[in-house]
Symmetry: C2
Subunit: 341 residues, 2 copies
Amino acid sequence: MATIYEVSKLAGVSLATVSRVINNTATVREATRERVEKAMRELGYQPNTMAQSLASNRSNSVGVVVSELNGPFYGTLLSEIEKAFRAVGKHVVFAASHSDQAIEQQSIEFLKSRRVDALILHVESVSDEYLAKLNQTDCPVIILNRDVPALEKQCITLNNRLGGYLAAHYLLQLGHRDIAYIAGPQWKSDARDRYLGHCDALREAGIEPNPELFYEGDFQETGGTQGFLALQQKAIAFSAVVCGNDEMAAGVIAEAHDQDIDIPEKLSIIGFDNVNFSHYVYPKLTTIDYPIASMGQMAAHWILQHVYQQKTPPLQQLFEPKLVIRDSTTHYDDNCAKNSP
Amino acid sequence: MATIYEVSKLAGVSLATVSRVINNTATVREATRERVEKAMRELGYQPNTMAQSLASNRSNSVGVVVSELNGPFYGTLLSEIEKAFRAVGKHVVFAASHSDQAIEQQSIEFLKSRRVDALILHVESVSDEYLAKLNQTDCPVIILNRDVPALEKQCITLNNRLGGYLAAHYLLQLGHRDIAYIAGPQWKSDARDRYLGHCDALREAGIEPNPELFYEGDFQETGGTQGFLALQQKAIAFSAVVCGNDEMAAGVIAEAHDQDIDIPEKLSIIGFDNVNFSHYVYPKLTTIDYPIASMGQMAAHWILQHVYQQKTPPLQQLFEPKLVIRDSTTHYDDNCAKNSP
DNA sequence: TTGTAAGCGTTATCAC
DNA sequence: GTGATAACGCTTACAA
């Protein structure tokens, strides 16, 4: 593989000049540039990125760590990030923590050891302090789906509260009054915010949230099923159930099928995230769209701008969810048997 | 960040010795090794991977290119590959071709410019010749889900024909005789093989495959829907339909719902791949499991063994699919209205 | 505008 | 066993 030295010899210029045309780092006379480019072409020259990195103290690569890769969510994220960086010749190296708390921090360190120029993190278990410290080293960090006060300029988040509001508001609009809620783990801020938005909408409609209609699940399909069963045990009936995410909504739907409950006629169900399988469930799931692709893109833009000094469209930190109406919800009907024991 | 030089000074040894303890590359007296290790710990030393790569001509990273990242398939693949390599301190950098023919080759070149030690490819559009040439350079290639004759030792594939056989065989066993087939694009060898297996089972049962019961789809959900509609137009009735993949099966199920056709009572449906949403469709999809996780792991093992000289479990190139029985299939029943105009 | 030369932090080849 | 020292291929002052 040809080196910069051979190029310089063939073009009859110095190493420095070749480097200049490679990096556009100083003005080079047009004639010279052309001679160099010709030489590069003839030799099929490709800069050795390792040498570049070593000399410039820049790896031209960014790291991404996500908690899970199997799910319907992170593929889209990674895909978008990679696309954005490749367009400017930067590589992305990634690690998955496989939802393991111990591995998460280790993943970050692992990528740092690769001297990535920046890190995009979608993580849950590491502490705010750790993230703040990390950012102070040499490696800017941008954080998805989480608010770290010390890093407020570098967090890209969804307005989860608004999302929760939109879901409940839609159901209220359809005439539902007794709306059950199957939440995600309440130690997670997004799960909490979604429920807060839910309560906002209820109160706005003059309804006080009823603890009897609340169940704390685990964001998994089975959690949805269990939540639905638990809610049915209670004394109070409901005509709709909103879930903290689509997986749990799928769990509810599955159980409803088992019990021969017609959806949406007897029970309206609404999810959250709009993951890629949400239109494979039957009936197709009404849900709240989480614009993960745009958020990934924005993370890339932030780094492009702040780390690589590239021009990008204006940055945005807070994203708005949108209601996606499909077939799992319908008007409240007095005749509909409310769901209760 | 501490360098190897500082470590050597603190430990009172030469650069070379420190390098030796880092790489276990020659015998170092126990006392010396300990002094060096202590120094490394005290300085929080981490080798600079760029410098290592430059000097050793090894990047300690492997590249992965996949055609798509959104789908339900590649996340699992990447996840498994990353896990295997991280365990031995190797990084993985990836690129997605976003199903774009032009980008695919460019993605490969992009990763090669990063001097990856090896490449794992799940690609369709580049030619066999290109792959063979690629492998001859400096960069071993391992290929997933595709047979490249010139690289037969480096291809990891699924026995698609067996998979097709298993699906049809199961339906025959259930008593179905008129079985429609919605295939993937027949220029793809996996799509072809699956159908061949289907025919194998039919002939084994003394049934000659009927071209009227065959439709060539596109592996997409909409293709399944269109295929189902097209098959219904034909003069011949069928009691079951097998699809070249799960997406198309989902399309058939959606259309069946629209037409109020009971599944599986009136129509049995079977997919292929066992993607992560296959149990979210209703009824849960009977399908053929594609062991993508094991295959990704095997790709990693191959590289670990041949490129990094690590010991691994024995390698395996051909994987066997398995029938996964769920709720979209049932016994053939004479009373069942066959599907026809 | 172009050239010279000193790094960048390792590994690897010699000697000792 | 250990230590000098020359690569590795590039960037980047500093000169010219």
